[in-house]
Symmetry: C2
Subunit: 214 residues, 2 copies
DNA sequence: ACCATATCGATAGTGAGATATCGATATATC
DNA sequence: GATATATCGATATCTCACTATCGATATGGT
């Protein structure tokens, strides 16, 4: 059924933007869109957009009109797995952890946080945004029993590696890492870093460059 | 004084990791490190590390011993501008906004949030994590008066573009965007997207690939 | 003092990803 | 119905980040 396509990482990361554009178009009653219009809106090259869409689309685009909006939406949602949700556990219910727990948009993107864990006694057993907070020692059992394969790390940097080890030991397949620490994990485990320090580095450099111009 | 080096974006984003490694080494009393050991620890190619460091280092590395830890730390901090802090304003004091306001690590990375803005009357005029929350209509005046050049967007997607326009109109030079919306801004304004949907896409695909293996 | 070797910098090679070009085709217009 | 054109897919080209290779050199061990 599925075309065996291997999208590049970058192409993959563009998909949510395409989806956003397509959904907006759909709302406006538009039935087909061209790669050029998408490209213009997202400030991308039109050939690039065409290649990306060709990779995940079940049907071809038509000359003059473009691609069918509804179909493309389905294709992308399918490809990104927005339909079969991924279960995850969150470790570290601090200010960031709470924000993540309360983020109702994740569902739309196929992520479902089933439980949270913390070491702080005063937080444990609370229910936050409808999710129960368990003591850390119950993590392994719960993850194994429920066959969870994503762990979200939102603990301070000094504990991040320990938590990662625990998650890996519990059979997790991927880690979403919000700490700034580079984690050491086995090769089969994916670590997706959400490193704000790296982003800040880009901001800083851009500003310096702008200053030098003037 | 400064060597006129143009690091690639990727190299730039690796710098915080190097810094982390170097600081840890320093704590342990290590005075010089080799590119190979850094590479091994961070799972990078050693030549890549060498090139990155050569680009920002004032002195060369020595055969057999490597690079001087203290000096490298200074060089990187200098390069990333951790010494002269960047002032920023935050727009949207919801659960994410609060987490960002309360994040005391930003200072270390050269970012200083000087004020926050929100439209919600019940939040306005509060002081959260030591930062005052102002009504949105006071943004322009304050940004101009204080010569702020970074705006952080943490409002729901549907308002993100409006806020971006306001920020741009106030003379901001860079936007740190936590919403999932692709913003339209003039060319001279940098938008650093912190798009969780793109990250989730990567996680999703990895999991599917892992499943297919078994 | 000598040699083995870890590390360096420089240069060349590779590969992923983005862009440019071109012929084909569906649709709108006259 | 003929014609113009926007859009498509395929192929070729270009770009640039990363990697591999190699000779040079400082340092530690014998
Ligand atoms: N606050 C932010 O805006 C922000 C943004 C991006 C990334 N981060 C990163 O996310 C992490 C958490 O940030 P925060 O601001 O929420 O910190 P926080 O101090 O508010 O929360 C940390 C939580 O982790 C818990 N914890 C500590 N050790 C634990 C362990 N071993 N197992 C389980 N739970 C443990 C603590 O009890 C606390 O509840 C940090 O690494 C930070 O760098 C924070
Ligand atoms: N919660 C998370 O974990 C998380 C993580 C990453 C990104 N995001 C994104 O960050 C944004 C905010 O998320 P949140 O969970 O904090 O939402 P939230 O609803 O908790 O907070 C949004 C805040 O923005 C304020 N606001 C609304 N319109 C505004 C305007 N025009 N000007 C100023 N303030 C305005 C609201 O009053 C509210 O305080 C969203 O775009 C979300 O997708 C959230």
């Amino acid at each position: 059924m599925n075309k065996k396509v291997t999208l590049t990482v970058q192409a993959l990361q563009r998909m949510p933007y395409y989806l956003q554009y397509l959904r907006k178009a759909k709302e406006q009653g538009i039935e087909s869109v061209s790669s050029t219009s998408i490209a213009k809106d997202l400030k991308l090259n039109d050939v690039l957009v065409r290649k990306d869409l060709a990779a995940i689309s079940t049907t071809q685009g038509k000359p003059k009109s473009g691609f069918a909006v509804n179909e493309l939406i389905d294709n992308i949602e399918d490809y990104l797995g927005y339909n079969n949700t991924m279960d995850a556990v969150l470790v570290g219910v601090g200010s960031l952890g709470r924000a993540l727990l309360g983020n109702d948009e994740f569902e739309k993107y196929g992520l479902n946080i089933v439980a949270a864990f913390d070491t702080d006694e005063s937080i444990v057993n609370q229910i936050i945004s409808g999710k129960q907070v368990f003591p850390l020692k119950r993590l392994k059992g719960l993850v194994k029993r429920m066959h969870i394969n994503i762990g979200i790390i939102a603990v301070p940097g000094e504990f991040a590696q320990d938590v990662a080890d625990l998650l890996v030991g519990s059979g997790i397949k991927a880690i979403w890492n919000f700490s700034l620490v580079k984690l050491k994990v086995p090769d089969h485990v994916l670590v997706q870093d959400e490193n704000l320090a790296a982003s800040l580095a880009k901001l800083s450099l851009h500003l310096r460059d702008e200053m030098e111009k003037n």
